[in-house]
């Protein structure tokens, strides 16, 4: 084993610098992230993230479990948007299963249900991001408003799949349960209630002068840098790149819906530049409205009757390998699966969007202040469960 020591920041004695260990227990590192900061007064000279405090060996687990058994574990990766994690994994397995003759393909009704819960969960995830970002910046109230509205979505999920956080709802080839009889009505109630709320939150927090001061022109992540760092999702769109897998490589039935891909803009009125914290945050606020749009289109359509899960004998994908990605709320969630034709994968790697986003923190945070570090972590919207897996 190679000799190695953990890389810790060293400061010269009698220098003006100070090493501050932020985390793993800290109110606003969104879990158990540890940051080692070299500070000159309030100014951050260097920030090194240390991760792994929430490592649960997901990939090792997966090698010893059959494909349907892995789905509950994907719930625990990004527990804020577990539906999308289920979906991403199932998409990859279904793509492999497509070569299997006995696999009948995902039924239409299941696709609609998937889009419904996926978009609802996207709203829930962005709401949480909005709330915690407000709290990081110091406004406590938006946090509870966000939780109040997220609660409604969780109640909807509780009805359809029986769980509030770890759903295990989307299965290989479909979904686990059909929706309860009056569920669509509840969804419509929620959408009607929620849509004006976004404007209220924008007036309360997004347009607030103090909030703008704290976030514009802070930690500018431009498009080239974002792509080089492999950053995707709202963080990339905040940098002005119009790239959304739902639009550009439509999977499931996203090509049937009409929605925009919100991107960041230079806004001289408030001084926002492409790729700063404010733009990254604003993209999420706009995306919630687009998700509402998609859900409305589903509600206005007739959801086809029929089975909710595909017919197949067993989940034994033919030998081969696949890398498939889907658009989770935090970016592109990729699954690299190597199969040898048995019920268990030989190798499963989850490429999480937060993992790549966090790796840019070290470069983003140079020369900023302690309070800005908090602003960056909030704006790239990380979930440690997904980073450490």
């Amino acid at each position: 084993m190679a000799a190695e020591g953990s890389k810790f920041i060293e400061v010269q004695p009698f220098s003006d610098e100070m090493v501050l260990s932020m985390g793993p227990q800290h109110p606003s590192t969104h879990g158990v992230l540890k940051l080692e900061l070299r500070l000159d007064g309030e100014i951050v000279r260097e920030a090194i993230p240390h991760i792994g405090y929430l490592h649960r060996c997901f990939e090792k687990h997966a090698e010893n479990l059959s494909y349907p058994q892995i789905i509950p574990f994907t719930d625990r990766m990004d527990y804020i948007a577990a539906m999308n994690q289920n979906w991403g994994f199932c998409l990859a397995v279904e793509k492999m299963m497509a070569a299997d003759e006995k696999f009948s393909g995902v039924p239409e009704r299941a696709e609609y249900l998937r889009v419904l819960v996926g978009e609802l969960n996207r709203i829930a995830s962005h709401l949480l991001s909005f709330g915690t970002y407000g709290m990081d910046i110091g406004a406590f109230t938006p946090f509870l408003y966000a939780f109040r509205d997220r609660e409604e979505i969780l109640l909807l999920f509780e009805e359809i799949c029986g769980a509030r956080l770890t759903y295990n709802y989307i299965r290989i080839g479909g979904v686990s349960r059909d929706m309860p009889p009056d569920w669509l009505g509840h969804v419509k109630n929620f959408i009607d209630y929620f849509e004006p709320k976004v404007d209220e939150y924008n007036a309360l927090l997004t347009e607030n002068k103090i909030f703008i001061e704290r976030t514009v022109k802070v930690a500018v992540l431009d498009e080239d840098m974002a792509i080089n760092y492999g950053i995707t999702g709202p963080n990339l769109r905040g940098a002005g790149k119009k790239w959304d897998l739902r639009k550009d490589e439509p999977y499931s039935i996203y090509d049937r819906f009409d929605f925009d891909v919100p991107i960041g803009h230079d806004i001289p009125r408030i001084g926002a530049v492409l790729g700063d914290c404010w733009n990254r945050y604003k993209v999420r606020m706009d995306e919630m409205k687009e998700s509402v749009k998609i859900i409305r289109q589903i509600l206005n359509q007739e959801i086809p009757e029929g089975p909710i899960i595909a017919q197949y004998k067993a989940v034994r994908p033919p030998a081969g390998e696949i890398f498939d990605r889907s658009e989770a709320p935090r970016g592109e969630l990729g699954f690299y699966i190597v199969s040898d034709g048995s019920v268990k994968p030989v190798r499963l790697k989850a490429k999480s969007p937060c993992f790549t986003a966090l790796s840019a923190l070290q470069e983003l945070s140079k020369g900023l202040m302690v309070a800005d570090i908090i602003a960056i972590i909030g704006s790239i919207d990380i979930v440690m469960g997904e980073i450490d897996r």
Binding site: L155, E158, R177, E200, K209
Partner: protein, 214 residues
């Protein structure tokens, strides 16, 4: 200078807008509830209640269990432990014949042999259930009270141990889906979500009923 003054104006303006929004919120009704007191956790039409099919604590009706081990195989975290043995008498020996489970609409079950058609329930008829387990009597229920009738396979194993470690369980519900007799369920009432213990060992539930096999 214009920028300076407009900065002050925007600052004051947005702060006041925020304050008006929060003040407006103060006049609205509260959404939080006083958890155990304000709320009767009974099943109603109001969907704030625990919904039907909520994935709560696991429960096994061992009277129905045929010890098929499917739940053990599917469990991703290996939290179900089953020990079983064959009855003496060699191949083909069974503890009891296949029976029916009558699920009533008030969420009770009667186990026994249903006479007549079990697939289709005619309204306003009487269903006779003989040899109910464990009492062994004959009962009659109106078919209007019956939700569904499930066939229960013959039992060919003694169950010596059926333990579920709820401290390990991850509530994925896979075991309830593979269960052929629907005896392993997740409790969707208040008992299913409120079962805190002071000792972790007491979260290991044992469902086995030795008196069933006497």
């Amino acid at each position: 200078m214009v920028g300076y003054i407009s900065n002050i104006y925007v600052g004051v303006y947005t702060v006041l807008v925020g304050m008006v929004i929060t003040f407006r919120q103060m006049l609205k009704p509260r959404v939080t509830h006083q958890y155990p007191y304000q709320y009767e956790f009974e099943r109603k039409d109001n969907y704030r209640e625990i919904p039907i099919g909520y994935r709560g604590q696991l429960h096994n009706r061992v009277e129905d269990c045929i010890v098929c081990n499917k739940c053990v195989q599917i469990c991703p975290v290996d939290c179900i432990y089953i020990d079983s043995r064959k009855p003496s008498g060699g191949r083909g020996a069974k503890l009891w014949e296949s029976m029916n489970v009558v699920h009533l609409k008030d969420r009770k079950q009667i186990i026994g042999i249903v006479e007549g058609n079990t697939k289709k329930i005619e309204p306003d008829t009487e269903i006779t259930i003989s040899q109910t387990v464990p009492a062994g009597k004959t009962r009659k229920v109106s078919s209007n009270d019956v939700d569904r009738i499930v066939e229960r396979k013959k039992v060919t194993f003694y169950m010596d141990r059926f333990d579920i470690d709820m401290a390990l369980c991850m509530y994925c519900g896979l075991c309830t889906e593979v269960c052929p007799t629907e005896c392993l369920t997740m409790v969707d009432t208040l008992q299913g979500i409120e079962y805190s213990e002071f000792d972790r060992a007491s979260l290991n539930y044992s469902f086995v009923k030795p008196e069933l096999y006497k």
